[in-house]
Point group: C2
Chain length 204, copies 2
């Protein structure tokens, strides 16, 4: 029927996908061997090919399986609050996604469109979508005079803050060890909106 004692084909497929994701995150799609993926998944190498046909197809399937587009239309519709709240809400979504996908995202960075890499571009697409949303929200606040500047530029900057936050933990020693996500996000929003200059004082 629906459940069998041994793993169903779909379960096997999922196991392979998760294993592939993990190995690719570590070694990259070039360094990930079908043998290691199969080992991690606990299946035979042949099974892997029976399911996906080729390594390339598997890699692509990984990207599609784990880098699905974000369904934010509903989220963005609700963002009619004050700037701070809007940015916090957006930031939370960004942080969550980037955190859970940073290993894959990293690899989409190393390919500068050299050969148009389907894996890299699929992995990056959600980020582009997010960026679009942020632009949209910021545009509104620029329009009503709350913010000033070019919306695209501001959006990129804000996303960059969150992005840096996610990556910095691995690349800078003891940076933001203490930071719980919301506290950190609050900090970024605060800097973004108000800067870090001490109030009531001016240098030089």
């Amino acid at each position: 029927m629906l459940a069998s004692k041994t793993a169903s084909p779909e379960e096997t497929r999922e196991r392979v996908l998760f294993a592939a994701r993990e190995v690719i995150a570590r070694k990259g799609k070039r360094g990930a061997t079908t043998r290691e993926i199969a080992d991690v998944a606990g299946v035979n190498e042949a099974t892997l090919f029976r399911h996906f046909g080729s390594k390339g197809a598997l890699v692509l399937a990984v990207a599609e399986r784990f880098c699905g587009l974000v369904e934010l239309r509903d989220v963005v519709a609700q963002l009619r609050g004050p700037v701070d709240a809007d940015l916090m809400a957006l930031g939370r979504v960004m942080l969550e996604r980037m955190e859970s996908q940073k290993d894959i995202i990293r690899w989409s960075f190393v390919d500068p469109g050299y050969d148009k890499d389907l894996f890299a571009s699929t992995a990056w697409r959600p980020q582009l979508a997010l960026h679009g949303i942020v632009v949209e929200v910021i545009e509104r606040h620029v329009a009503d005079g709350t913010l000033r500047g070019d919306a695209r530029r501001l959006a990129t900057l804000f996303m960059g803050m969150v992005f840096t936050h996610v990556l910095a933990r691995d690349k800078f020693p003891d940076s933001d060890v203490h930071a719980e996500p919301d506290e950190a996000l609050g900090f970024y929003v605060d800097v973004f909106l108000n800067g870090v200059r001490s109030r009531g004082r001016t240098s030089s």
Copy 2:
């Protein structure tokens, strides 16, 4: 004597190093083959091994050759101006270095210290050094009351802004096309110090 009609060994070595850098930037140290490096350098593959012994040694030599530490002690000593000027000066250095090394830096991102990768860590070391400098300068401005907050965190954030700027051009469509470095830097410093909220107004 010193000059010969054919390329001297040192010239050959340099050609190989530059070729290796280029190929590694494109394909990564795993994807870069000794054959392609030799082809790009215009030398025979055997020559490559005669000079460096192994591919691993060549890769490491590339990192050491192109990711030298920054000599900033003198630069930082002069940074006693107003915050804006200090940040601009630092930003210029950062931008310049990151721009010229972004292809290599990207690859140092992809290895999360999984196996301690000498190439990645060597390539990243200058960034750590720069970060340290920025912390130092910001600390001074925090101490004299110009800035507020945790210096390390602020430094990471500021570096992230510049870093994002460098990478964003490749990853976000038509972002900052117009930006000349100094104009962009000025924008970041401005946001960092003053935020982007319209002056004299408050949202909600």
